[in-house]
């Protein structure tokens, strides 16, 4: 029989005012995710303003695609034939680098910033609302959630359409990268670009908004005919990806950065690209 010890010590304290009573390392996840995303933002911002070494042989960095205009005089820039609208516009202000990335990065960024997973992590990591579960949220005079300033988050489905457009473009870039000087081939860079498309597709097609649009909006998947609606089949596939949305989000984001880094290193001549073209 257990022998009890009676009332050994008393503690005082107001449970309403403590930050948290959690004893585990609750701060680790918001710290790592916050630092990880910040590192990505710093790298992409740096890469965006470089405006050079984003083309290697037939590889185009995903941070610079679609290539709307190009300044072919920049080091490591593609030939002008690869740009949708030709030469870099003359009216472009001198104090802003003539970087094609500046023109296009808002598209994928808008998708990630309104993504339901990203919202979870950055509300936790950067806005402490809350930092972790059962940890006091940052005090606010009148918390409004996503009803006032953050109403724009409701347009996530439109950023999804943009993201799907980018996947089409990046798929095209990957196919184009298989042709160099009129010869069909493949290199490590091609594989890196192909993996990038696959990872971005896994992330994009697991989107909560897409899951709703393809089937989640329906109350009944069989009521019309008694047969399974195509929307239910699609919804199940999107659901499979959606259940893994977080890892897809992180791996795809990191791989975008790596793809740019790989092409940059090859373009600068620091890394050798192993390929079938022999150059």
């Amino acid at each position: 029989m257990a022998q009890a010890t009676y009332l050994t010590q008393s503690f005082s304290g107001d449970k309403k005012t403590t930050l948290t009573m959690r004893t585990d390392r609750w701060w680790l996840e918001p710290f790592l995710t916050g630092a990880g995303f910040l590192a990505f933002v710093i790298y992409t911002t740096w890469a965006m303003f470089q405006a050079e070494y984003y083309w290697a042989g037939s590889y185009l960095s995903p941070l610079y695609s679609p290539l709307l205009f190009v300044d072919p005089s920049a080091s490591g820039a593609p030939p002008v034939a690869h740009a949708w609208f030709g030469y870099w516009p003359k009216w472009w202000p001198n104090f802003i680098p003539s970087s094609p990335a500046i023109l296009i990065l808002a598209g994928p960024l808008s998708f990630r910033l309104t993504c339901y997973y990203y919202r979870k992590f950055y509300y936790r990591a950067y806005f402490a609302t809350p930092s972790a579960c059962a940890v006091s949220a940052l005090a606010q005079k009148d918390y409004k959630g996503e009803t006032h300033l953050l109403l724009f988050q409701n347009l996530h489905r439109y950023t999804l359409y943009i993201a799907i457009f980018y996947i089409v473009i990046l798929t095209y870039d990957t196919l184009v990268s298989c042709f160099r000087d009129g010869r069909l081939g493949v290199g490590v860079g091609t594989l890196v670009m192909a993996v990038n498309v696959i990872l971005l597709s896994g992330y994009t097609f697991g989107c909560h908004a897409l899951r709703h649009l393809v089937g989640g909006r329906m109350d009944c998947f069989s009521c019309a005919s008694g047969q399974e609606h195509w929307g239910h089949k699609t919804w199940k596939k999107v659901t499979w990806l959606n259940e893994r949305h977080m890892p897809w989000a992180w791996v795809s984001m990191i791989w975008v950065g790596f793809t740019d880094f790989y092409i940059r290193m090859v373009s600068m001549g620091i890394w050798q690209d192993f390929n079938t073209w022999g150059n």
Binding site: A2, Q3, A4, T5, Y6, L7, T8, Q9, S10, F11, S12, G13, K15, K16, T20, M21, R22, T23, D24, Y116, R119, K120, Y123, R124, T129, P130, A132, C133, A134, S136, A137, A139, Q140, Y143, K144, G145, E146, T147, L150, L151, N154, L155, R157, H208, A209, R211, H212, G216, R217, D219, C220, F221, S222, C223, G226, E228, H232, N242, E243
Partner: protein
């Protein structure tokens, strides 16, 4: 036999404090066992709510080392040896005594929700449903109403917005009705304006603490938010309705 120390919140709605206790352990003990042992041998007036002791009634919700959990499903051997285990009442609700809180606000929220309203029966006088149509709703029916999700939701817990948000548990109830293949009641306007879908910033703590592992956010709240977007925030759908439905 090994000993384990506890700090348990003692007090009422006016004031209280953590009080330290120690008991000797037996194999397989859960936190509720420890509380019962303290209650039976040391402080018989220690108030604790419990019922099934099997993780199915949702009565024994407390905060253990700061995390909202069921005390009957939390084993003592999962904590590092020598660590003092802190047990306190749910922070979001008013304390009645010691570990017991007044959760009646939740019952009031439930009454605000329009009940199930079935469509007309098929020609043969029956309702007809397929498994694939009720699978989503069945997940929500696992809810045991422990209110851990309500407790951890920062909208209720830290911002005290009980007038503006019904909380995750009732978003799940709303989802189970809205997604029901036979239900024809339209609750979307109230989900936006009265039940406060927009107050949730989907930080997913409700999902993290759910003892029934219901995907509260991904399968309940986010789909409801998307239905609100369909009705109120999608400019193309809005235009479509204006043109084709007057």
């Amino acid at each position: 036999m090994a000993q384990r120390s506890f700090k348990i919140w003692r007090g009422d709605k006016n004031n209280g404090q953590f009080v330290a206790y120690a008991i000797e352990l037996e194999p397989g003990m859960v936190v509720l066992d420890a509380i019962h042992r303290i209650q039976s041998r040391q402080v018989t007036d220690l108030a604790v709510r419990w019922n099934c002791k099997a993780g199915k009634c949702g009565s024994c919700s407390v905060e253990i080392n700061g995390k909202p959990r069921l005390s009957c499903m939390t084993r003592l051997n999962e904590f590092p040896e020598g660590q003092v285990i802190t047990v306190q009442p749910l922070k979001t609700f008013p304390i009645i005594k010691d570990l017991v809180t007044d959760v009646s606000w939740n019952y009031a929220q439930n009454k605000r929700i329009a009940p199930f309203k079935p469509r007309t029966k098929d020609a043969d006088g029956n309702y007809r449903m397929y498994q694939r149509d009720v699978e989503r709703v069945q997940e929500f029916r696992k809810c045991i109403e422990c209110y851990l999700c309500q407790d951890v939701c920062h909208v209720l817990r830290d911002h005290a917005k009980k007038e503006e948000f019904v909380g995750p548990r009732f978003m799940i109830r709303l989802a189970s009705l809205e997604m029901h293949p036979l239900d024809i009641e339209d609750r979307i306007p109230k989900i936006k304006k009265e039940y406060g879908a927009g107050m949730c910033n989907i930080t997913k703590c409700c999902t993290d603490v759910c003892p029934e592992h219901i995907h509260i956010t991904d399968n309940g709240i986010v789909p409801l938010k998307e239905r609100v977007v369909d009705r109120y925030y999608d400019p193309i759908l809005w235009l479509w309705r204006k043109i084709f439905r007057g």
